[in-house]
């Protein structure tokens, strides 16, 4: 008992002393840091959603670096797309999606005021179904979706239940493969790849070994510059919202959108400005993405582009 009391007292003293030290000698490091960034307008702290493809990383990283230089505090949060992310924006834990392919999946959240559509980011996205280029040479009519069933046997694997294997994009991406297969009565089994890298693996292997593969892919993506793929054309697109698509027709070519939280739009601080003004081309994104893919740290790759494109960056922060 006596021992316990002694222990309690000791802890109390220590806590008190610790409390005093913390309050008395407040952050010397902070003083130095705040004079550092104190030049411009005050900027808040925000979270950017990080989605899982390298192009997105490129855009988000450039915005992050520009914002940090403007004195903003940025946290990057890795999250699945769409529903999950919009929920996070509603909860206040995410402030920005720099590139959304959703074709209006966010409408329900926008109606509630949880998500604000900021406009397009200059990139134009095009999703499609692809085969390695050697297949288009060997079977020229394979690029017409009407002939897919004719070649289904080529694509059979142990995973595809006797039908052709259709490598679908990750669950979070804008995907309508299941609808395409059933609406067009295609003799294919959907196999979800789960990640951009897995798709790249599939096509890399198919191109190198000259094995057949049919899979989901998209531009802007730097990989298309490295390995030649041929697009399988479905009937001309007639939808924008993937949730409403019939599956009979192809993916649309669509401007990629910036989405922000209400908090960010209301703040009207330097970061709001950067987000509103940020705009670049597919080639810009591919340049940064290529550096990231070849092993450069994303922050360094972004900084390299920023240094080489000072005018563009200046126009965002104005």
């Amino acid at each position: 008992m006596v021992r316990n009391k002694g222990k309690g007292l000791r802890l109390a003293v220590i806590t008190a002393v610790a409390g005093l030290t913390l309050s008395a000698c407040g952050g010397g490091v902070d003083d130095a840091a705040s004079t550092d960034a104190g030049a411009g307008e005050a900027c808040g702290s925000y979270s950017i959603a990080m989605h899982a493809w390298v192009g997105y990383t490129a855009s988000a990283q450039v915005v992050t670096e520009v914002a940090k230089a403007a004195g903003c505090t940025i946290e990057q949060v890795t999250l699945e797309e769409a529903g999950v992310t919009y929920d996070a924006m509603e909860a206040g834990s995410i402030d920005l999606v720099i590139e959304d392919w959703g074709g209006g999946r966010w409408k329900e959240w926008a109606d509630r005021g949880a998500v604000v559509e900021v406009g397009d980011n200059g990139n134009v996205g095009l999703i499609g179904m692809y085969v390695p280029a050697w297949m288009a040479e060997e079977y020229p009519d394979i690029t017409d979706s009407a002939n897919l069933n004719k070649y289904a046997d080529l694509f059979v694997t142990d995973e595809s239940k006797g039908k052709g294997a259709w490598y679908e994009g990750p669950p979070g991406y804008t995907t309508i493969g299941e609808k395409m297969v059933s609406a067009n009565k295609l003799n294919y089994t959907i196999i979800s790849t789960g990640s951009e890298q897995a798709l790249i693996d599939v096509f890399t292997k198919a191109a190198a070994d000259k094995t057949p593969a049919l899979g989901y892919f998209y531009e802007p993506q730097n990989f298309l510059a490295k390995v030649a793929l041929a697009r399988v054309n479905f009937p001309k697109n007639d939808w924008t919202d993937a949730g409403e698509a019939s599956g009979l027709t192809d993916y649309p070519s669509s401007p990629l959108m910036k989405l922000a939280s209400k908090k960010l739009m209301d703040a009207n601080d330097p970061f709001t400005k950067i987000v509103k003004n940020f705009k670049w081309t597919n080639a810009d994104q591919n340049a940064v993405a290529a550096d990231i893919e070849s092993g450069t740290d994303p922050a360094a790759a972004a900084q390299k582009w920023i240094d080489a494109n000072k005018d563009a960056v200046a126009s965002w922060t104005k």
Binding site: A18, T21, V77, V84, A88, A91, E108, P170, S192, S195
Partner: protein, 657 residues
Amino acid sequence: MSNLALGTSRKREIKRSWLLGGVFVIWIGLAKLFNGKFTLEIAVPQNTPFTSFVGEVAKSIRGNRTDGAAFKYFFNPIRQIIDGFVTFIREIISIPTQGATIPLIGWLGVLALIGFTVFAVSKLKTAIMAMALTFACGALGLWKDSMDTLAMTIAAVLLSLAIGIPVGIWAGRSDFALKLVTPILDLAQILPTLVYLAPLALFFLIGPASATIATMVYSIPIAIRLTAFGIRGVAKSPVEASVSMGSTGAQTLTKVQLPMAKKTIVLGINQTVMAALSFVVIAALIGAPGLGKPVIEALIIRDVGEGFVAGFAVVFLAIMLDRSTTAAVVKQNTFVPPSPAELKRRKIGLIIAGISTIASIILSRQFAWAAYFPKNINFAEQIGHGADTTVVWITETFSFFTDGLIKFVTVGILNPLESVLSGAPWFLTILAISAISAIIGGFRSALITVFLLGAIVASGLWFDTMITFAQTIVATLLTMLVGVALGIWVGRSAKADRVLRPILDAGQVLPAFVYLIPMLGFFGPARFTAIATGIVYSIPVVVKIVGQGIRDVPVTMIEAATSAGSTTRQLITKVQLPAAKNSLLLATNQGLIFVLAVVVIGGFVGAGGLGYLVILGSSKPELQGKGLVAGFSILLLGVMIDRIAQYAVRRNSAPRQ
């Protein structure tokens, strides 16, 4: 046990295996005959009336989140309180406080504080080890993420204990309370983690609060169970003595029961901490900050090195927290009172440690070198590269073996099993599974099986459930094959136990996502990737249970068999394995539950089935209802597997006349 009884039980067993064989033959035959009919298969984007209904409900819940009364007065306040609590702890060690650029305490201060705390509750050696492991997390270039994880774990553990210990005390003192909480605890223990993320996110949105609550769902049952166990384990006589001396209930509790149960309760804290930490990675899926982020990122870009580096940091933190809390348990256990000299030395030690801790905290707030973890101490690249090279080497060296193995498992076992389970008419499958359940678990087991399978049919996701079930069975079979062999080895040889135990311990704390990454590289987007991950995840628990079972076989039985001239092989197959049958059943049960929890995560990498639907539902609003129902179906499947195994264990341990 007389010879006669042994004879009849043996006969019954033989009869049972014939029956089982018969069911299998008829089942497979009929399944072949009616293949592809009444499979209840529905296309992935298609909703059933039920899943549409659930989707509508989910949508209206989403719409109500700002103004609905339930949210305004219940869910949102809870979220805000937990969010505030988590932020408070994070601001101390991991994120900048309001208007500052560093957390309240920089890395040097945190390190000192950890050392001091561990020293205060255990001994110097453990404290130094704890500091070294924490420092190692920083040297992996993951200081901030590690601190976030530590903060999240501390927050979740404190909240779990705040709820778990009182409820555990209640359940320890009242039989009624125990009856009330036991089924809930049982359910929580078999609930695959992926299942309740989406419903939680629906009510508490994405972010640290949801992640903390999800972690608590996982760790509270453990705190309750061990606390109740500890209170109940206190010998009757001191309690009776206390009551007879006129103590009130509260006095008996605080003066007798709690102090005497202290050791078990501290063990409960240890287990709660480990449970919370094991949730780190999966919680990142609903916005938890910390080490889960780099692991998920690495999975997405299939960066084996990055995944392992983050995985190692998780393991370091796990060892640090495990050893520190275990050392505290050991200290509760020492009955030899320290000598005055020792006490004095310890006192001086604590004072010195305390002063240096305060000094470190002050330094870490004044100077950048003590505030930010030094950038030049970073071995992430070397370790990541090492992991990468090792994995590549394993892939290339064993590809002749792995290629054949995948082919054999996929074409030889998985595809046929899948076509029997999911390709046959649903009622035939239900009939067959129920018959098997009846043979191994008895009538009540069959009844529950029919009920649960019926519920799965009603959910509309029968076909996908059977796909997941087939993968679970195959992975469990392979797990048992390897796990039982290793378990026998560990059980028979103390040396084997010494060699394998650290590997098994590490395997149990290394997040499954970490080795999912190289598996994806090895096997590509395929069901085998999910199966292989499930096997790696569940082998440690199977080996441990089987090893314990073999070790618990009475020495007299083994001596008798040896003196009768049994060979080692006979000894294992005729004596040790049959005597450890209950452990084998228990291991199978745990294996199945562990495998199921991970196989559904395989939905991320092309394994399809229910896991894929859960993941799809979380990002495609039009399929949210289907995703929620899929989560529920996983739960039904888990309960069914668990019930059958439990009934089988019970039947085996209490043989009737």
